[in-house]
Symmetry: C2
Subunit: 346 residues, 2 copies
């Protein structure tokens, strides 16, 4: 059987000091002077015993767990198709580590499952809720009780700090690019059902760009996607059955890949017959045929920013009510000037 793990009492005994002194030395407590001689004895004892403070006990004594809860409210399909999620996670974990915190993961089977106990049981000091839904009563209650929460995504009507991509601006960027190429009949396939805030924001950006250019909106040009490539395939068929666009903005690269497959089947060539812009800038987008013009978003930074926000919130530091991270247009071969159109000056 493995020997019992050494405790601070063992270290104290070996160094011939009290447990208190051990604690002072190991925590480098400010304002307490410890002679070098004593300090060294303690440090040596700790090293030879292989002492590692029990962090559970430390959490209890301090009253803080030094860990962040990450709640993934996305549906399984959403997770499976979100190629950037891992990057965001990495950003969050790194932000947490910088502040000597840990990340506790909580996934939810939709329709069931509660996560509030995560914080109510003192296991985490704060929560990051990713992909919140409107009907999340649990979340509302938690916020009302004053627990530190940061939302990654958007949830209007709740007074909570949130961090998100600037979806509207990104969509505008995409559509403005198409407009600048001379396109006017610009279709739009959303990245998800409009109940998802990101989807409706991107659609809003699309509309704003059209309105700003004085182009009338046409309902026949709009269709809903749903996370995966298949939905893009279906949506493009819907649109082509109704009308004939000369450009297509798909608010998700993954959905766009399905849409491009649909266009191929319809005998349309990209970008000769129709220009396509995606959204998300997944790594693969550059290697599609043709390489996809898209909107890049800082997935890693999103995680880092969310992490810093909740850490600030926990520490009582001021936190911006809403942080929007900038997007960027990446022009590739899937977009070209409208056939016969003169390219506008930029």
């Amino acid at each position: 059987m493995p020997k019992r793990r050494p405790t601070s009492a063992d270290v104290a005994a070996m160094a011939h000091v009290s447990r208190t002194t051990v604690s002072f030395v190991l925590n480098e407590r400010a304002g307490v002077k410890i002679p070098d001689d004593t300090r060294r004895r303690v440090l040596d004892a700790a090293a030879t015993l292989g002492y590692h403070p029990n962090s559970v006990a430390r959490q209890l004594a301090r009253g803080a767990s030094r860990s962040l809860g990450l709640v993934l409210r996305q549906s399984p399909e959403q997770v499976a198709n979100d190629g950037l999620l891992a990057e965001t996670l990495r950003g969050l974990a790194n932000a947490a580590r910088e502040a000597d915190h840990r990340v506790l993961l909580e996934t939810l089977v939709p329709g069931e499952g509660s996560y509030a106990n995560l914080v109510r049981s003192g296991r985490t000091d704060g929560l990051i809720v990713s992909g919140p839904r409107y009907d999340d009563e649990e979340l509302v209650q938690l916020v009302r009780d004053g627990f530190p929460v940061v939302i990654q995504g958007t949830l209007p009507g709740l007074d909570v700090p949130s961090v998100d991509i600037d979806n509207e601006a990104g969509a505008r960027l995409a559509v403005e690019h198409l407009l600048a190429l001379g396109h006017r009949r610009i279709a739009c396939i959303t990245n998800a059902p409009l109940a998802y805030t990101a989807a409706s924001e991107r659609l809003t950006g699309y509309r704003e760009a059209l309105a700003a250019a004085g182009v009338a909106e046409e309902p026949a040009l709009i269709a809903e996607g749903a996370f995966d490539a298949q939905s893009g395939h279906r949506a493009v068929a819907e649109i082509l059955a109704r009308t004939t666009p000369d450009a297509l903005f798909v608010a998700s690269d993954v959905v766009a890949i399905g849409a491009m497959a649909g266009l191929r089947e319809a005998g349309l060539s990209v970008p000769r017959d129709i220009s396509v812009v995606g959204f998300d800038a997944i790594p693969l987008a550059a290697y599609l045929d043709p390489p996809l013009t898209t909107i890049s978003l800082p997935a890693y930074d999103l995680g880092v920013t969310a992490g810093r926000a909740i850490l600030d919130r926990i520490a009582g530091r001021p936190v911006a009510g809403r942080t929007l991270l900038p997007t960027e247009l990446i022009v590739r071969a899937s977009t070209a000037p409208r056939h016969g159109a003169v390219r506008w000056p930029v």
Copy 2:
């Protein structure tokens, strides 16, 4: 200021019983009879106070943290290009939840960073190490000390339970498919440098299939990929500069997408001029042009299996030394019989 959180002592006071009784009732302790009357008083008091047991204190008292540590040793590029990672994570989290455990995430900046303290500090009861490297001294030490560890991936030479995809069998499946179509000059692009066990295993599968069919191996037909599409693009150029294959097995869909882009640029048409098989069955593979024949692997199950394994290990139940999850061939349009070849009977 928010009121102090209620403790079990508060519940005890309100129910006019001792803290011990509260503990017995709330934990439904077997072997202890509590009259319904008393039980109800305790339950009611807990409910009206909004009592939630402090899990940190509970961890300390019980000596177990009921949480699993997940260590991601993959490099950032690897994470960014691993579209299945999120699925695996979801599987693990769900397996953990079923057993009332939590998942603690630990990422590592390569070259630095230790994670052993995660378990040495008592924060987790066991560790799942994903993507271990040969030179992981920390891991070796941990295993030697008898800490519960399960490896997700492969690490030969260390006596630790591990869970992985059956990479060899999957690669064989892919190559056998190409052989059955009549191809003989089958090239191979690995999914990663060969220092990664998954990469060398898949290459081994490729070789075994060739050997079993009596086809001589040709070094000129083999090139190394490195996680991303770009590396596939480069690797295919290397191969085409040396020789002319009639089929190509790329041990990763993501790399295959880059490879297919390279084939296009070289003026080769898939599958007319060359058949291509990928590996991983990322959701997008079905929507490529042409849809990619690939090997599907149970990403979600991988997470579940790893989770169950470490839970078994923690509980002292017997654990299989090595679990290999089966793969499956998904035939799509990127593979076709060799030009002029008679299709073999299956």
